[in-house]
């Protein structure tokens, strides 16, 4: 009845099965029951998503390790991921699943000697293990995935819809502004003061100084500042005053030269344009501050314009300008620097007033239409906020999903 070889075999089998579970000095390590790998949806074709259920042996000193290989038969030696077992839970899974996105090609390339070799798209194989101290227990299941690139990131669909809707709104209102050019814009006192400030510079026979922020042409605030510069340059050319533009970025400087030159030509004063007045003051933040402060105290401009995106230099520049007795008009969407401009400048355009300024000054249908469309956009956001909050208060949460950032 009792067969000795069978008993021996059974004992050995039970021992080897139980070994991982009671490895590491009796610490129980139970590997996850499942492990899956799949192409990360809506990505650039490099990502692989890994997902597995939480193991009962998760603890602060337990880790998950995922090994990756290009070949199913090759040894799995390259670590693709190593995380603490109590981290990287899948969203909304109530701590029951782990989720990670990795770039296997990048990981394998870094670990390989031929790291610059361009390879064809291929399948990757993954092995999951749970480890604690020196013991490691692998899951029995091997997962594989072939990353594919996608044309469309569906997680950003709402972003796309918002952008298209906004573009449609802008085009509609530009058309509307062309038909009825007297669209109402509320009074922005900082902009009304520009004429007064330029008139003062003309009377005093002193220059007006225009200071861009520190950002390059990729920044929306710099683009808005350059638009305003064009309008100011036009008035300056009419008044026959000197305009100095101190730049920190050579590309912004070149764009400013073009814009100012065009404004002078538009005003019928191309002869008054001096290219050297739009200059590169310095290439770094604080040398730029030193240079512009020096210009302020030596040339004593009657008017200073600070328009664009500013950082720590804002207070030093505006304070120096205030000490020289200049009229100062600032416009920035850098909310950390706005307090300094408000305390040291005569007029400050806050945030979006900077974007509205060029429409306000020029009254061009293109800009007026954009401004009106922005207002409609803000109206839609206010409605969405109020309605969304009321619905959430009433326990209806679907609005959150409509505006979820992908």
């Amino acid at each position: 009845m009792y067969n000795l070889p069978n008993i021996l075999i059974s004992t050995v089998f039970v021992f080897f099965c139980a070994f991982p579970v009671f490895a590491a000095g009796g610490k129980t390590l139970i590997p996850p029951t499942d492990f899956e790998a799949y192409d990360t949806p809506s990505d650039n074709g490099k990502g692989v998503s890994l997902r597995w259920p939480a193991s009962p042996s998760e603890s602060i000193d337990t880790e998950y390790v995922v090994f990756v290989s290009r070949n199913i038969d090759a040894p799995f030696v390259t670590e693709a991921l190593r995380i603490n077992s109590q981290t990287m839970y899948e969203d909304n899974s109530d701590f029951k699943y782990h989720y990670a996105e990795i770039d296997p090609e990048n990981i394998l390339r870094k670990s390989s000697a031929q790291n610059n070799q361009i390879r064809k798209k291929e399948k990757y194989y993954f092995k999951l293990a749970i480890t604690s101290g020196s013991s490691i227990v692998e899951t029995g299941k091997l997962a594989s995935a072939l990353p594919k690139s996608d044309w469309f990131d569906w997680k950003k669909l709402n972003n796309f819809v918002l952008m298209i809707s906004f573009v449609a709104l802008v085009l509609f209102f530009i058309n509307h502004a062309r038909k009825s050019p007297n669209l109402f814009i509320r009074k922005i006192s900082g902009l009304d003061a520009i004429d007064e400030a330029l008139g003062r510079a003309t009377e005093m026979g002193k220059p007006a100084l225009f200071v861009h922020g520190l950002n390059g042409m990729g920044s929306i605030s710099t683009i808005a500042a350059v638009n305003i510069l064009g309008k100011i340059a036009f008035r300056i050319a009419e008044y026959d005053t000197t305009l100095k533009v101190a730049n920190i970025d050579p590309i912004v400087m070149s764009v400013s030269q073009e814009v100012v030159k065009e404004s002078y030509m538009e005003a019928g004063r191309p002869d008054a344009y001096v290219e050297d007045n739009i200059f590169l003051a310095a290439s770094e933040q604080f040398p730029y501050v030193a240079a512009v402060s020096g210009i302020m105290v030596r040339e004593k401009p009657a008017t200073n314009f600070f328009m664009g995106y500013f950082y720590a230099e804002s207070l030093i520049l505006a304070e120096t300008g205030a000490n020289t007795g200049a009229i100062q008009i600032a416009a920035t969407d850098s909310y950390t620097q706005l307090p300094f401009f408000i305390t040291t400048c005569d007029y400050t355009l806050i945030g979006e007033e900077l974007y509205a300024a060029s429409a306000y000054l020029s009254r061009e249908p293109l800009l007026l239409g954009s401004l009106r469309a922005q207002d409609i956009g803000k109206g839609i956001l206010i409605v969405a906020l109020v309605v969304g909050t009321i619905l959430t208060t009433l326990g209806v949460g679907f609005v959150s999903y409509l505006f979820m950032a992908g």
Partner: protein
């Protein structure tokens, strides 16, 4: 009279600075060939920059021009080593003339050409070509910024919290956040005159803005004070050795 007073102040400060340094060096408290030279230079430029607080002066002008020049030189070196050398020189020119194991990446020629067009601004006849580069930069900048702007400043901000939260302070906080956002947004309405209800709500928005700016002002001033403390520490600890 006033000008001569400034000259006296300038020269006495300079003489005092030199005497202090000579005294420290002769006493061996500053090691000239070790860190001493750097400390003395740092102290000189710190004081030169602070001299602007009194008024514009030749010492400040020297420091200002050196600062601008050094920054420009540094920027040129950074441009060469971080951009031109790895992205242009080593990816196109080196592989053409030398066996490097990687073929020349001719696609880099497109941005290189766009960059070279910028230099054509020196030629009156060809300056128009630089506009292509500007158009590319502005277009690319807008194209990248606008979707990111919608993502970061609209979608990421549009989260809806219940006004009836488990605790009263959280409910009040949620209500204040909603009121603040809506009123500030109404303040930035340009198509409507700020009168009546709109005017009233926009005034609430201005209050929210000013409270936020006040907090930001205080916070930043504290950060600036720590910068000042750092400089003063450098002067009295590293340079003069008055504190340890």
């Amino acid at each position: 009279m006033k000008k001569s007073r400034d000259v006296y102040i300038l020269f006495s400060t300079l003489i005092l600075f030199f005497l202090v340094n000579i005294f420290y060096l002769s006493m061996g408290w500053l090691d000239f060939w070790g860190k001493g030279l750097g400390i003395v230079t740092g102290a000189a430029f710190t004081l030169a920059m602070y001299s602007f607080l009194y008024k514009d002066n030749p010492v400040f002008k020297i420091a200002e021009n050196l600062f601008v020049g050094v920054a420009m030189g540094y920027w040129i070196i950074i441009t060469w080593f971080n951009i031109l050398k790895p992205d242009v020189f080593e990816t196109i020119l080196v592989p053409i003339f030398k066996e490097t194991g990687t073929p020349p990446q001719f696609t880099i020629l497109i941005p290189t050409l766009l960059g070279m067009f910028m230099l054509l601004r020196f030629s009156k006849k060809l300056a128009w070509m630089s506009r292509w580069s500007f158009a590319f930069i502005v277009g690319l900048g807008s194209g990248i910024t606008i979707p990111n702007f919608i993502h970061a400043f609209i979608l990421k901000q549009l989260t809806f919290d219940s006004l009836i939260a488990p605790s009263i302070p959280v409910s009040i906080n949620n209500f204040l956040v909603l009121l603040g956002v809506v009123s500030v947004l109404i303040y930035f309405f340009f198509s409507v005159e700020h009168k009546g209800v709109v005017g009233g709500i926009s005034i609430i928005g201005v209050w929210f803005l000013m409270i936020a700016f006040g907090a930001s002002f205080g916070y930043t001033v504290m950060a600036r004070m720590s910068l000042l403390i750092g400089r003063i520490q450098f002067l009295i600890r590293d340079w003069l050795g008055l504190i340890q």
